[in-house]
């Protein structure tokens, strides 16, 4: 028994071996039954006790709820004419999570959609950067043939989503660029800012990125619909289950007159400038054009790098909204505000100041543009005599005319205005100078400010508001959204003061004044205004930025206006950057824009030959410029600025 394992017991015999087999077989049988019972119990537990939970999980496996981006509310003008609409569109996106073989997929897409290598590179870069965060757009605006080709292959291209949706369209193109802004695919910051609203990463959904589109985002958005679809693990559609339609955003009715906006944009032509027209009784902004501008349609599709480069290197700054975000010394367009201050300060409008062609302050001479002789207020406005405003401005002091100009809207931010940003400039006074430069205010500063130079810088909208307040005598606030509101309050100034300034401005255009060439072509409707020429560079007297100097050193031309004289209805401002002078560059634009408001046909007759001389309409000209830009020699300087006239 030496070799026996584990000791004891009697030696095994045939008999007890058979017995042992039976016992152990029974044991085994029991164990097997035990396993069967365990399996049955486990299955019962999973299928009955946890049935509900697993049903839910199976359902969430199978059913995907896809958001249907809501159709964005239209933006219409004051007459209901659409300015931003939605067009049916087919787009293709990539859902990163479902992509199986990226390289093969991109190769297939490039072939089917004829994508250029740069696009493939961009898609690849976006896939790397946004891994899984959101769909990566591949192509938009597919034509029928492309749509059919990709739709047929969609089941074999896991990760590809082909969607029929809507794309924003701006019929007026660049004319409404700065005003309306544009829409674009939300970025990570916007997504986080809305608490990761799933709508923002829905393929095809775009948010307002600029202008009214951005400010009015929530109002224009509408409510997304839901499509419940059955899908496979690879994201392939099995069938549509049910669809809850989206609710389109409510249309936004603006105060803009689309026709006028378009006309003003076209009339600005090749110039770099802006034109604002207000209803001077209500404050409604009828047009707010800034040119040149980007085409919001191009931006909404996602702008290409060369396009962007062309826009950002253009010296005429097409990316800046010059009505709100460009600041100019107002020059002589500031004088109506000073004149109002003089009247309110008790200066007799008939008191004359002799203009010998300048003003002597100690050893320093402040120039006037002419030698005007004796000037009262009326003639000083008409002739834009600096000497009168030097003398009188100095008499009442900076604080009084600074306060008046602020009251007329200059240097003010219009808080109610739904815009992304406004640069509000400076109306200087001694306190401001002390704050800003830690320097004492000097008499020279007062003289400069009195003619709208020196530290005074303003945006064109403020000038338009000033013109509107002078024209109506009311505290008008510029408005962009058309809605019922109380008529603006009457400004607490003597009506005689307003009348004196208005008559001076009437004289500028319709009498013996600086803008006599820009009278309205109607016997019974007169436009009043005030020209301004703002120095870009401080060059002494007669040598200042005239024709012949480089474009970017030339003086800005400005013009503020209202019409009709007698019963003012419209007011506005035109600024032409480097336009040499207000009478020469800005007033004719204002004249034509006002003409449009009273007689569209006549205005168009004047515009068409002008456009012909510039080389076609806005679309043709920008297409030509883009072509020049593309074909330029690499590294060459940006396109030359326009030479006016």
């Amino acid at each position: 028994m030496r070799r026996k394992l584990f000791g004891g017991g009697p030696p095994m015999t045939e008999g007890n071996l058979a017995q042992s087999f039976s016992r152990r077989a029974f044991l085994l049988n029991t164990a097997q039954t035990g396993v069967a019972v365990l399996l049955a119990a486990r299955m019962g537990y999973i299928a009955i006790a946890e049935n509900e939970r697993y049903l839910g999980l199976a359902e969430s496996n199978r059913v995907h709820t896809r958001l249907i981006p809501p159709r964005r509310g239209w933006i219409v003008d004051r007459h209901g004419q659409p300015m931003a609409i939605n067009r049916a569109d087919v787009r293709v996106d990539l859902i990163p999570d479902f992509i199986e073989d990226r390289d093969k997929l991109l190769a297939d897409l490039a072939r089917i959609l004829a994508l250029p290598p740069e696009e493939i590179q961009r898609i690849r870069a976006e896939l790397d950067r946004d891994q899984g965060f959101q769909p990566v757009p591949v192509a938009e605006h597919l034509n029928a043939q492309q749509y059919n080709m990709i739709k047929v292959r969609e089941p074999d291209l896991p990760g590809v989503s082909v969607l029929e949706g809507f794309a924003r369209y701006y019929p007026e193109g660049a004319a409404v660029g700065h005003l309306l802004g544009y829409v674009g695919t939300p970025n990570r910051r916007e997504y986080d800012a809305e608490n990761r609203n799933p709508l923002l990463i829905t393929p095809g959904y775009k948010v307002g990125k600029e202008g009214l589109e951005r400010v009015m985002e929530q109002r224009l958005r509408g409510r997304p619909g839901q499509a419940r679809v059955e899908v496979t693990a690879r994201g392939q559609l099995v069938r549509q289950l049910q669809t809850l339609p989206d609710v389109a955003g409510t249309p936004l009715r603006t105060t803009i007159d689309a026709g006028l906006q378009s006309f003003a944009a076209r009339r600005l032509g090749e110039e770099s400038g802006s034109c604002v027209v207000l209803d001077c009784q209500s404050g409604d902004i009828l047009c707010m054009a800034s040119m040149p501008a980007y085409d919001p349609n191009a931006f909404s599709d996602g702008i290409s790098h060369p396009e962007w480069e062309m826009l950002s290197t253009d010296p005429r700054h097409p990316l800046i909204n010059k009505t709100l975000n460009a600041l100019y010394p107002p020059g002589s367009t500031f004088k109506p505000a000073v004149a109002m201050a003089l009247m309110e300060a008790g200066v007799d409008p008939d008191e004359t100041v002799n203009c010998p062609g300048g003003y002597q302050l100690g050893s320093r001479r402040f120039g006037c543009l002419g030698t005007h002789g004796p000037m009262n207020m009326h003639r000083a406005i008409a002739k834009s005599c600096n000497t009168y405003f030097y003398t009188m401005g100095r008499r009442i002091g900076i604080d009084r005319f600074a306060a008046m100009s602020r009251r007329l809207g200059l240097g003010q931010r219009f808080n109610e205005l739904p815009v992304v940003s406004q640069s509000y400039g400076t109306i200087p006074d001694p306190a401001w100078k002390q704050r800003r430069y830690r320097q004492e205010w000097s008499q020279a500063d007062t003289l400069n400010a009195a003619i709208g130079q020196g530290y005074v810088i303003l945006n064109p909208l403020q000038l338009a508001v000033m013109a509107a307040r002078i024209a109506s005598g009311r505290d008008v606030q510029p408005r962009l959204v058309l809605e019922r509101h109380a008529q603006p309050a009457i400004l607490p100034f003597n009506p005689v003061s307003f009348e004196a300034v208005r008559s001076g401005m009437d004289e500028v255009v319709n009498g013996n004044g600086t803008a006599g060439a820009s009278r309205l072509p109607f016997p019974d409707i007169r436009m009043a205004g005030k020209t301004g020429t703002a120095q870009v560079r401080n060059i002494v007297d007669a040598n200042r930025g005239r024709a012949g100097t480089a474009w970017r050193y030339r003086d800005h031309g400005l013009f503020v206006f209202f019409a009709p004289v007698g019963a003012p209805r419209y007011a506005g401002a035109v600024v032409i950057e480097h336009g040499l002078g207000g009478a020469r560059a800005a007033a004719p634009v204002a004249c034509d824009v006002m003409t449009y408001l009273f007689d569209k046909d006549r205005a168009m007759q004047r515009l068409l030959p002008l456009e012909q001389s510039w080389g076609g309409n806005v679309v043709e000209r920008s297409a030509r410029r883009a072509a020049q830009w593309t074909n330029r020699a690499p590294g060459s300087p940006p396109p030359p600025p326009p030479v006016p006239l």
């Binding site: 026996k4 030696p11 095994m12 069967a36 399996l39 049955a40 999973i46 299928a47």
Partner: protein, 373 residues
């Protein structure tokens, strides 16, 4: 009990067991019909080949049932040597399938020699222990030859590497040793040793990814998209089926591609989704009845060889079914073992039908003896 006019060889067929086997295969066919890729159900590519394959193997098993059990005993070492040669051939010219180099392609048929090895080893062990004299049973001499005979092919299979098959063979071997009457202490000691070694193996010997797999098995929902995906989706399929299931062809887990391998390893989950707890329990019951029949054949067998062989064959079928079912219900880690007769694929079916054929042969022999007596 037999009807007088039925020819004797036919009457001696175990009709009840045959019916069970056919029903299991038929359920498999129904399940495979509805797991057609892309949904909608269809005879191709799984259901019809499954049925044809089963028919062939059934004829084979019936033919095997007419062979006298002693014959298996006599020729087993030839078969053993032959399968060893095939295993070596696999190492050299085998094809890779499912991550292991375990297939031999003969042009008209692809086989896994490791599958053939399972019934062969059962018969080898049965013959060995039948030959061990009763008083030698508790000695070393009753252990080491068996360990050698099993260990050698098992190591080759482990090297393929086919962990599932190696595990199955080991389990069957332990069961047969247990039935052969080896000392109980051997098994109790072994169990204790394994239990004690578990934590040590887990923390020191396993690679990090293997450790992960164990952890994921313990809590599959911790990693629902990674390695726990299979388990989670399988449980979702079974759990969402409820009591009566979603109905034939209405399962979404398999047709939507969420359930991985719905036609092979996870066929039970696919069936349970459509036929519910009722269908699943019915399938489990059929397997239980088949195993009960197998153990009955073993108990009633005349010779020690036949008893051991029948028990070993039954254990092989049991481990196949049990490991697969434990796996799909999340009670065992995911190892690639199909559900015999139900899953698509010939290898497991072949093994199980060989087992079934041998069991029928033993049963026939037993009943013949009964009659002769």
């Amino acid at each position: 009990m037999a009807l007088a006019f039925v020819p004797r060889p036919i009457a001696f067929l175990p009709w009840k067991a045959l019916l069970i086997v056919v029903m299991i295969a038929a359920i498999g066919m129904v399940g495979l019909y509805s797991t057609r890729p892309g949904g909608g159900g269809g005879l191709m590519p799984y259901a019809l080949p499954h049925a044809m394959r089963f028919s062939i193997f059934l004829v084979m098993a019936l033919a095997m049932s007419f062979v006298r059990p002693e014959r298996y005993s006599e020729f087993v070492f030839v078969a053993y040597a032959g399968v060893i040669v095939l295993l070596f051939a696999v190492m050299v010219i085998g094809e890779v399938g499912g991550g292991a180099r375990s297939w031999l392609n003969f042009g008209f048929i692809r086989i896994q020699p490791s599958e053939l090895m399972k019934p062969v080893l059962v018969i080898v062990l049965a013959r060995f222990y039948a030959g061990v004299p009763p008083r030698e049973v508790k000695r070393w001499s009753a252990i080491w030859p068996a360990v050698l005979l099993v260990g050698f092919p098992t190591l080759i299979i482990l090297a393929q590497p086919d962990l599932g098959t190696a595990m199955l063979i080991t389990c069957c071997t332990i069961v047969m040793m247990f039935l052969a009457g080896l000392s109980l202490w051997l098994f109790i000691g072994g169990l204790l040793t394994v239990g004690a070694a578990m934590p040590i193996v887990f923390s020191f010997l396993l690679m990090p990814h293997q450790r992960d797999r164990v952890l994921i098995f313990l809590n599959p929902e911790s990693d629902p998209l990674g390695a726990g995906y299979h388990l989670t989706q399988s449980k979702i399929a079974i759990g969402s089926g409820g009591l009566f299931g979603k109905g034939f062809l209405n399962g979404t887990q398999a047709s939507g591609d969420f359930l991985p391998e719905p036609h092979t390893d996870f066929i039970f989950a696919a069936i349970a989704e459509e036929w519910g707890l009722v269908g699943g329990l019915f399938l489990i019951l059929l397997f239980a009845l088949l195993l009960r029949w197998g153990m009955k054949v073993s108990r009633h067998a005349r010779s020690r060889f036949e008893k051991l062989a029948a028990a070993g064959m039954t254990a092989t079928i049991f481990f196949y079914a049990a490991i697969n079912l434990l796996m799909v219900m999340g009670l065992a880690p995911v190892v690639g073992i199909p559900l015999p007769l139900v899953s698509y694929g010939g290898s497991a079916m072949m093994t199980v039908m060989i087992c079934f054929g041998v069991l029928m042969a033993i049963d026939r022999n037993t009943r013949k003896d009964e009659r002769r007596r």
